[in-house]
């Protein structure tokens, strides 16, 4: 899932300083699961903004609503009337949600209430960790299901650097060395030969380095053959 965390209230206050009417839009998908921007968080941020603006002597009219998926336009149509009534929209969606709102409602001032962090999973209640860097060319089949692009601090492809110590990364002892994990896994599976081959330099074009990415599936498109823009 996409993991995000809420911006500090002071920053949210500053972002919405000039607005009298604020619409807070939560999202019912990833950010609900990671307790950053679901209905519950939207209600808390709304209450906080109401209270703090009242204390500041400029009470705001704050309304909150949560859509099922902020990253798809069709779910955004149902809040059209509320969108029109607000001075600014505070999205509690991920970066995709914020942009989907801004694209669907070009005249609206859409502000981010979260910092989108990474694609990851919960390790335990209250702890999330990154697992995928969306590089566009998955090599997990060669690395025992452990991604060195997302989990090695230097994105190495041919084994650990000299800073791997007692299973930990040189950057921070709280980070597991991805290559120690890969080594242990492949050793346990009797597949260490996979580490003996030299992995050539990665083609980063499928990653962000090739420019903003897009997938076109002609088999699914309705307007087959038309050029896709946007």
């Amino acid at each position: 899932m996409i993991v995000a965390e809420q911006k500090p209230l002071a920053e949210i206050k500053s972002l919405t300083a000039d607005a009298k009417k604020v619409l807070i839009v939560g999202c019912g998908t990833c950010v609900t699961v990671c307790f950053a921007g679901g209905a519950r968080e939207a209600a808390i941020v709304a209450a906080s903004l109401r209270m703090t603006s009242k204390l500041d002597g400029h009470p705001k009219d704050v309304v909150e609503v949560t859509v099922q998926r902020q990253c798809e336009w069709e779910y955004l149509d149902e809040i059209a009337s509320q969108m029109g009534a607000a001075d600014v929209i505070l999205s509690l969606g991920c970066g995709v949600g914020v942009q989907a709102l801004a694209e669907r409602y070009p005249n609206a001032i859409v502000l981010p209430g979260l910092n989108t962090a990474f694609i990851g999973l919960p390790l335990e209640q209250g702890v999330w960790a990154e697992r995928c860097a969306a590089c566009g060319q998955c090599i997990l089949g060669l690395t025992g299901g452990i991604c060195p692009i997302a989990r090695c601090s230097k994105q190495l492809l041919n084994g650990p650097c000299g800073g791997s110590s007692k299973g930990k990364c040189e950057v921070n002892p709280e980070i597991d060395c991805a290559w120690q994990l890969i080594y242990d896994k492949l050793k346990a599976q009797g597949r260490l030969h996979l580490l003996m081959e030299i992995t050539p330099p990665k083609d980063w074009r499928t990653s962000r380095d090739g420019g903003p990415r897009k997938i076109v599936r002609e088999d699914l498109r309705l307007a087959t053959g038309d050029k896709v823009t946007g």
Binding site: L157, G159, P160
Partner: protein
């Protein structure tokens, strides 16, 4: 090969190793400014004392004069440089472009490194690159020389850079049993020489080298064992406790502590520590010479280039051999 008499690069380091001498390299840390004098002074301390000196590339991720700039200056002073190149700050375009420039300036040795993570240095907010890793970098530099082509496969039209290519290895990094295999990968990638991380735990290094020799890697690349003189017991403790991947046994720390015992005068105490540090380093070099597969030593006297000469004198490694180019019949 024309003009190189069969050598890959024709560097002094290559010639000395090729002739079968026990080679010596050292380290020259460029300044955190643009002062030519710093390089001049340090080069004067190392010239004629070592085969070549590594010019570090923003070591510990702190901005310093570039290894190419520092290397070209060292060369002007008569000291052969080993240009260090990390994968942290440049992508394959930048690295190849710098390799062409460095070769044009007369640099002939390059050491391919991953690079310390930028969070350790003075610009922790920066973005790192790591377009390639050190093994891929070795392959690329070897390709420029032996395949006469850029990493993308495009032919180099005209003069191609012909470097003596090095790589590093930390025998004490984890997983320990993978380290000799990783060294083998570097040799397979085409590394001509290897310089290791600083060694203080000799028995563990022996174990590592035994495995390296069993794999035959010492026949594919010259292995230079890393050593370094300790300045103070504090430095020894810091390396033991704080530097990831360093292995400093307690007895080394205790020896350093004992050296200053009973000495009240601060200057005399510091001198006693330094003397002991140099003594330990000499002993380490003597032990390294006895280990099968070790072709030389790499002395890392960090910001203490003055120590290199007395260390080599003590180890009986001066004067350095002079290898004339092989004259073809």
């Amino acid at each position: 090969m024309s003009g190189l008499n069969g050598y890959k690069s024709g560097s002094n380091l290559e010639k000395v190793l090729h002739a079968g001498h026990f080679a010596v390299t050292a380290e020259l840390g460029p300044p955190k400014n643009a002062d030519v004098e710093v390089i001049r002074k340090k080069a004067a301390l190392l010239k004629g004392v070592v085969e070549a000196a590594n010019i570090t590339d923003n070591q510990t991720a702190i901005v310093r004069m570039s290894s190419i700039g520092g290397g070209a200056l060292a060369l002007r002073e008569g000291l052969e440089p080993v240009m260090q190149m990390t994968c942290r700050d440049r992508n394959r375009l930048g690295m190849q472009s710098d390799l062409l420039g460095a070769y044009a300036l007369g640099l002939r040795n390059v050491l391919c490194l991953t690079g310390d993570h930028q969070t350790f240095g003075n610009h922790p907010q920066s973005k790192n690159v790591h377009d390639m890793d050190s093994i891929q970098l070795v392959q690329m530099v070897v390709g420029l020389r032996d395949k006469n082509c850029f990493q993308c496969g495009e032919e180099i039209k005209g003069v191609n850079p012909r470097f003596f290519v090095g790589a590093a290895e930390n025998p004490f990094g984890d997983p320990f049993e993978f380290r000799p295999l990783r060294l083998g990968k570097k040799a397979k990638a085409g590394a001509d020489f290897i310089q290791t991380q600083m060694i203080y735990n000799v028995p563990k290094f022996r174990e590592f080298m035994k495995r390296v020799v069993d794999l035959g890697v010492h026949k594919q690349a010259y292995i230079l064992a890393g050593v370094g003189p300790l300045k103070t017991p504090g430095a020894a403790k810091y390396m033991r406790d704080q530097v990831p991947g360093m292995d400093v046994p307690d007895e080394i720390v205790e020896r350093m502590e004992a050296a200053g015992k009973g000495i009240e005068d601060k200057k005399a105490k510091a001198a006693a520590y330094r003397e002991e540090g140099i003594k330990i380093c000499i002993e380490l070099i003597r032990q390294m010479r006895e280990i099968e597969g070790v072709a030389g030593v790499h002395i890392m006297a960090i910001e203490w280039e003055e120590a290199v000469k007395p260390i080599l004198e003590g180890a009986g490694l001066l004067p350095r051999p002079v290898v004339e180019p092989v004259v073809s019949a």
